[in-house]
Symmetry: C3
Subunit: 466 residues, 3 copies
């Protein structure tokens, strides 16, 4: 059955350094399951549990955090775990609770659920002991899960050293990078100039103008491709602000030159226009090098400015935005939506766009595929809503299957399992209702669980030698 099919993980945020070093071990369940999981941290925060209580250090590494003015001691791992367990009821009803319950049971054999004050120390000790063993090294877990293919997400300026080391290990599954150039494209952000410098260094190109900037980007794409990358990924914070639209060359050159000179930051309108322009350039390069173009669209990052300031990005202070794809993608799709070497995979957090914008667009443009329900909607009901909303207009073959999109490695199997069960439940209901024959239902489940991801990302059938 489909529950035993291998796992394809073509988009996610596993840290490649975990896999590069055979000796890597997580030091505690807090380090593995609590601190890096912004799904969980946000829910704890929503009930008044501070980051410091969860053991999270502010940027700069101080042992104290300043929340609403007061300085707070950062808890050690055991104390943080106790706090987490004491407040775990806030997770009820969320996919985080499911993933955690299933990870604990299936990966660690820990079945005393829910976690609470009564079992905090015992679980901390039991999980810590297991994590010290080779059986719980990251690669071992992925192998146990049946992972066949895994993409990480890597800055355009990354030296990909971890991927070189992974390749040298000869793991029994394939691990490749994904080209994520956001920081090098977001010309309005304060970090942009530093990132362009890093991009040039990584590419071996002196970036002195727009032309050399494009050369550097192209060089990095080629390097990613040599490292096995099948896809690029673009985090588009608000597609309504930065629709992909080409600028006249001189306009792009001028904005770039002024921003690189650094005398004054580009205006908000210039930055938006340039970013939209660069999405068109990235699309063109995708048609040239064949790397799939993923777009994750519509999120207000760092909405809680306190969290962003103290702890940086990806700490659970992000919130979805309404998105509009019909006008925003008009130029992109007319330029590249029927290109034979192009695949664009779209993700959104605005469920209203599923049946209104996305499924109809994917049901006509050959280059377009829809990514699975993303982030807040990667959940039982989110999946059901997605399947019901998109399949009738887009069909099955225009979907990109599933990806787990996670940095929470132990939950990977549980996440795929949740998707597969959601797909199976939906297909069974359709079959009951005469929409699918039993044979069709089986095929469709297989496609959504495995076949579509392989097809959309063009994952080769046989792992190549690293």
């Amino acid at each position: 059955g489909v529950q035993d099919a291998p796992l394809l993980c073509p988009h996610g945020h596993i840290d490649p350094s975990w896999l590069a070093d055979e000796a890597f071990r997580w030091s505690s369940p807090t380090e593995l399951l609590v601190k890096p999981d912004h799904y969980l941290v946000r829910l704890m925060r929503s009930q008044g549990v501070s980051e410091a209580q969860l053991g999270i250090r502010p940027r700069g590494g101080s042992g104290k955090a300043s929340g609403d003015g007061s300085m707070e001691e950062v808890a050690d791992d055991r104390e943080a775990w106790r706090t987490f367990c004491a407040h775990s009821r806030v997770l009820r009803g969320t996919p985080t609770a499911l993933w955690l319950r299933e990870s604990l049971a299936q990966v660690f054999g820990w079945r005393d659920w829910p976690l609470g004050v009564h079992n905090a120390d015992a679980s901390f000790d039991a999980l810590s002991a297991k994590l010290a063993s080779a059986e719980f090294a990251p690669a071992a877990l992925l192998q146990r899960f049946g992972v066949e293919f895994l993409s990480t997400t890597d800055a355009a300026s990354s030296d990909l050293r971890a991927h070189t080391a992974i390749a040298a290990r000869g793991l029994p599954f394939r691990v490749v990078p994904t080209f994520r150039p956001d920081a090098a494209l977001q010309i309005g952000a304060s970090r942009w100039r530093a990132e362009v410098t890093a991009l040039g260094v990584a590419a071996g190109v002196r970036v002195k103008d727009y032309a050399s900037y494009l050369r550097a980007l192209r060089a990095r794409r080629a390097a990613f491709k040599r490292a096995g990358a099948l896809a690029a990924d673009h985090g588009v914070d608000d597609l309504r602000r930065t629709p992909p639209r080409a600028l006249p060359l001189h306009a792009a050159e001028d904005i770039f030159a002024a921003a690189l000179a650094g005398d004054a930051p580009p205006s908000s309108a210039q930055a938006a226009a340039f970013e939209g322009h660069m999405l068109m350039q990235m699309a063109r390069m995708s048609t040239e090098d064949g790397m799939v173009m993923q777009m994750h669209c519509g999120v207000h990052r760092g909405h809680d400015e306190r969290v962003a300031r103290l702890y940086g990005p990806d700490m659970g202070g992000d919130v979805p935005l309404p998105q509009e794809f019909v006008h925003s993608l008009h130029e992109l799709l007319n330029a590249y939506g029927t290109h034979p070497n192009m695949t664009i995979i779209l993700f959104t957090l605005d469920e209203a766009a599923y049946s209104r914008d996305l499924a109809p667009l994917a049901g006509t443009y050959p280059a377009l595929r829809l990514g699975p329900p993303w982030w807040f909607h990667d959940s039982r009901n989110g999946m059901r809503r997605y399947l019901e909303a998109v399949t009738e207009s887009a069909g099955i073959d225009n979907l990109a299957g599933f990806n787990d999109d996670t940095r929470a490695l132990p939950s990977i199997a549980a996440r795929h399992d949740l998707w597969r069960r959601a797909v199976a439940a939906w297909a069974a209901e359709m079959a009951d209702d005469g929409v699918f024959s039993e044979q069709e239902a089986r095929e469709v489940v297989w496609e959504l669980a495995y076949g579509r991801a392989r097809a959309a990302y063009r994952i080769p059938a046989e792992p190549e030698a690293g």
Copy 2:
């Protein structure tokens, strides 16, 4: 089981004068069930039944109404009841039908449903007879329903005299006011100056400038609090137009001064800015006095101008608006969203915002709670959509449970019952699917039926002496 738990009614529109006077009786079922229920009046109108046919007098009290030009006799209560019964089929499928059927059966013992021409007179007579008895006085009905706590909704300028009288009665349940200052804040409305005068009178403050205006508001909040109020409530017609954002002090002072002088109404932009500014002031006062800040956002009031002109507000001519909370609430949540003395409860009529804006926001800001499905969505399917859309991102503990939000007193028990059944059905489905254990499902149902409302509104465990 949860079906027998006491009722908490922390937000609603019961007229406190009904409870202040032990001798109050409704004169007929038309007076109780038809005329004041804008849910019902709108549906009758949608099928061509006029307000006059339902016995509703135009403002000014004339016995004739001018609809499309013709003058129409206003029906007496019996005739209006006959008309209502003759057209009751339009209610099919709406929660109004359910509430009415259940109220008639459980409160009045009337089970000949549906109402129609055949039973109009009999039902009119049977209900009228019951309504004359002490058993059907408002407080008696609330006691019969098991109401434990009830908030009314009261203008900031209210003298709260009815609440003083209620307190003196020593009812076996607690009744408190809610501070609703809309009319005193909506500086662009024609009624504003009169309301500010009334506010000053009630507060014992001569409102001559912005500073004394704030003093008067603060004084009224204190008076409401002394009368037991736990919450303020803000009707925000369009949050996109009046996002809570603080103005520089002199700007607020200038807009206020010009509006109070009355030489010219503020421009639409000035009015919107001032109203948004005042929401920030109200939030700050909530952090000071601890009154929960409710916001009911997004409704075009008086869409049908004929109805508004002839019959005034709350006559069923109101329609929901799309709302956006991520940008609109950015300043408010960054200022007060983590304040330890703050609770903000949000309501919307735009269901697209449930999973996109509201649940993610409530899943990170500790001050934020989500109100139950409101008004048009206070229904079987509306409740199911709400539960499925918000719980996966917000969890259970960030919800505010239920409130009946009604002026239709006999339906209060039926409304809570509908919610409790919806919650139980949803939780049972989640348990069947392995999301909840049976124990978790029972706890979650209890929380949503009772516990969360008590927690969100900080309802004291023991009724205080009146």
Copy 3:
């Protein structure tokens, strides 16, 4: 039971010339089932099957099509059918698959499903043979389906000759035109002047200014009404751009005069204002002549410009738009929403508007009815979402029942059947849950399957003589 009730088809796109000529036969299944069905063509295209491969000729009638630059031979009908069968898996999960499967089985007795390479030639031959027989003439099929009433959709400039011929045939069901003046109203479109000329010719009015333009429109409405038309239909591409709002007479006259002179096209703002103005004129004429005003709102037509350029409209390159009805329809509904001679039927592709805008509006304005789920949402799940979203606020009696909206004649019965089953499943669930009694559920199913369409379009009980 309701499954045997006659079919009312008050809105659709059946070509009246098919019915005018008793001798008309479709030449092949490709001609009938593939080429004219943009639902199907778009899905084929989404998986890389070109229009030419499906046998579709570009405008101008060339036997070759230029897609991405290359010239491509247009397949003959058999080859196109083979290609279609070979790719039919893309239809899985879409209503097109259901309609096709059911049409083949019930109309043609062909049950070897799915279509594929293995049965392409056999099915082509079997279907072709049947199509040659009188039993498969269009009128014979409609009769077999139990069609009682059918509206076509006809340009305002149509001479209605086909309808004259149909009337002369004395068919056992009624066929009438629908007045669709879009091309004559869209003053910003390049085809507008030609259409106004055609309108004048058809009306026998020399259109030389705004006044004569209105006279011509009124004359055509009268002609349509004489031919049995019960309704007008307005395709409003984006109601947010062209909200119905009356212009001062001189402004309308000026825009019209300048556009008719043809010296320069109207500005985009002028065109939008004029189109919105004309919707108000059309509404006024509807109150005068009693023709129902249908509005199909919110679609970006020709999104894929290659498809539009090569193949023209209605080729599956159209995509829904977000719509907003509360502000956009404010003036229209205040002017005509309570007019006793008015019925407005609204359709949208933006499901977010179902429960937010449309059901509340239909639940208060007596002239307003909601059309069934349209186009992309005319599907199992789309129907369920619609029923659940609108009935609780609008009730049943404010819905317009079903219409099949199709040019795919053989699927008409299957489409009605899908709706009836969706309605029955929804009503059964409501009855199980105590919302409806069994009697109410039966009545409601009948109303939605038959009664509401008759009432909303005011279809006379007895067919008149042609």
